[in-house]
Structure formats: structure tokens, C-alpha cells
């Protein structure tokens, strides 16, 4: 297991997961979202080829009201 930060909170996931597997492991329910890894946007096409490492900082953002 490795420790990562997801949306500002610590989480533990199996080592060597790609982004798609990580989303499943976190049981993330939003249907529409986008991901940034260590402050950099990761396009949906790259989810399976991007591996999560220990101490990675992940932002998963979903639509919300805005002005």
C-alpha cells in the first residue's frame, strides 16, 4: 500500500495503480470529473498510462455552481 493525498486528504491505495484503477479503488461516485496530478492536468486518454506513486497529490474536481 502507498499513501497519497486526494483532494487534500490522506488515502491509502495499492501500489502501481493507474488513474482509472485508483478512481475505482477510491469508490469515487461522480460521473463527470477531471483530474490533476501534482498540479498538472491529466487528460482522460492518459488515465490508463499514468501510474500513481507514493505521496502523489491528486485533485479530482467535479462541476459545481459558479459566478
Amino acid at each position: 500500500m502507498i499513501e497519497i493525498i486526494v483532494n487534500g486528504e490522506k488515502a491509502n491505495i495499492k501500489d502501481e495503480l493507474n488513474i482509472r484503477d485508483m478512481i475505482k479503488a477510491l469508490d469515487y461516485q461522480q460521473e463527470v470529473f477531471a483530474i490533476a496530478l501534482n498540479g498538472t492536468f491529466v487528460a482522460i486518454d492518459a488515465y490508463e498510462t499514468t501510474t500513481i506513486k507514493a505521496d502523489d497529490n491528486i485533485e479530482i474536481l467535479a462541476p459545481i455552481q459558479g459566478g
Binding site: Q29, E31, F33, A34, G66
Partner: protein, 269 residues
Amino acid sequence: MTKKIEQDNSWEIGGKRLTSRLLIGSALYPSPANMEDAIKESESQIVTVALRRQAAGENAGNNFWNIIKSLNINVLPNTAGCHSAKEAITIAQMAREVFGTNWIKLEVIGDQYNLQPDPFETVKAAEVLIKEGFEVFPYTTDDLVVAKRLADVGCKILMPWGSPIGSGQGLMNPSNLKAIRKQFPELKLIVDAGIGKPSDATEAMQLGYDGVLLNSAIALAQDPVKMAQAFKYAVESGRLGYEAGVMQEREFASPSTPTVGTPFWHQFK
């Protein structure tokens, strides 16, 4: 018999032809249903949205997004809350994927007290985003030189504030807004932020601005749906007034009723 003035009131922004010049926010309404009703009543064709963290088990974002999609109008995602060009660029890239649009309301805040935009980081982010194919709607102050820098990096749209976000103070500095309009006749100019009353929106439109973007003024009204209607008419009225050409101000009174034939003229002294 009066004849209704026939006119094409459509305009173009960001590659889209629209009829409404009111851009509306989707936040702060008493309920999602109220938001939906207010947006419909405003007849706005551009609604602003945002991206935020949501807990793993929550589904609120999907419900909100489904309402917005059902309105079938243009979505303008914002980068609200960003404090650096890097953050804003990342949020813009994420928003493009989620919302399926290259439009981005670029907000980079430089001061937390009055939410004043950071002009240096805003220009830096705008330059990168334009190169990446975004249509940038930059939230800026009414500073003419900052407007020039944004235009220099390729912005076709500028959104100077009327006054700080959510303050409802109206147009703090109309003469600065006027100067920007005069200097950039070719750019699309939207007054964004600070609008409180319908008359503030009318004033902005009378200055020749192409549109007005507001959220709190409608959402925080006692009756947001009725206020949405008020702003729809206020924006239309201001635009018509601008197009019709406002009369020259005069220093002294000038009677509007003809003086020829005035009764009792010189009769009583």
C-alpha cells in the same frame, strides 16, 4: 400609429451569435429549482459554472450539471479561487474536458480582501491559454494598461469589474470603464462583478459595453426569478439607449415645451 422598430439585436462573442447580452451566474440561489427558474427567466444564453472538490460518495455535481445541460445554453466555466497562473491554467484545462468548451472565465485573485484580480498572473495565464486554443474571458480591473496588456497577448474579450465581486456597489469608476471602451472599440467588453441593481446594468450598457455578467444581484435578491426578469429588461434598455445615442448634457435648463405662444406672456408684471 406607432411602428415597432425592427432590428437585428444579435451579437457575436467567442464565435457564437447570441441575442441576450446578460451573462448569468449559477451560484448562491436559494435552491437548484430557483436557479433554474431564474436562469430561464433571465433569457441569458451564457451561464457561468465552476469546478470543485467533492467527496467520493457525493453525487451533487452530477445533479447540478444535469440541470445546466437541460437549459441548453452556453456554459462559461470559471477559474474562481485560483491565485496563480499555473493553478488557473490547470483548472482551465480540466474545465475544457469536463464541460466540453474552450471558453474560460479567467479569474486569478491577487487580494483576498476585495478579491481584486492579480493583473500579472492573469496576463501570464491568458497568454498560455490563448496559445492552447482557449477563448479567454479575463476578469480584470478597470485599469487601462492592464486591459492593453491583455489585448496584446491576444484577448478578444475583456471583463473589467464594476466593483468588487459580490459587493453590489455598482460601477465604482465609470470614467475608467469609458476609457477602456474608447480605447478598444474592436474588443468585446463585459462588465463583470459588482453589479447590484438593475440600473447598474443599464448604466454599464449605456457606456457601450457589449454585455454584463452578474450572479449575486439576482441570486441574493428577495425574489431571484423576478430580479432575473428585471435584469433582462435593464440590459436590453441600456443597450437600446446606447444604440439610440444619449443626448448631450447641458449646463443649464432648457424648456422642452415651445416658448412661442406661451399664454399670459408679459401680461402680468
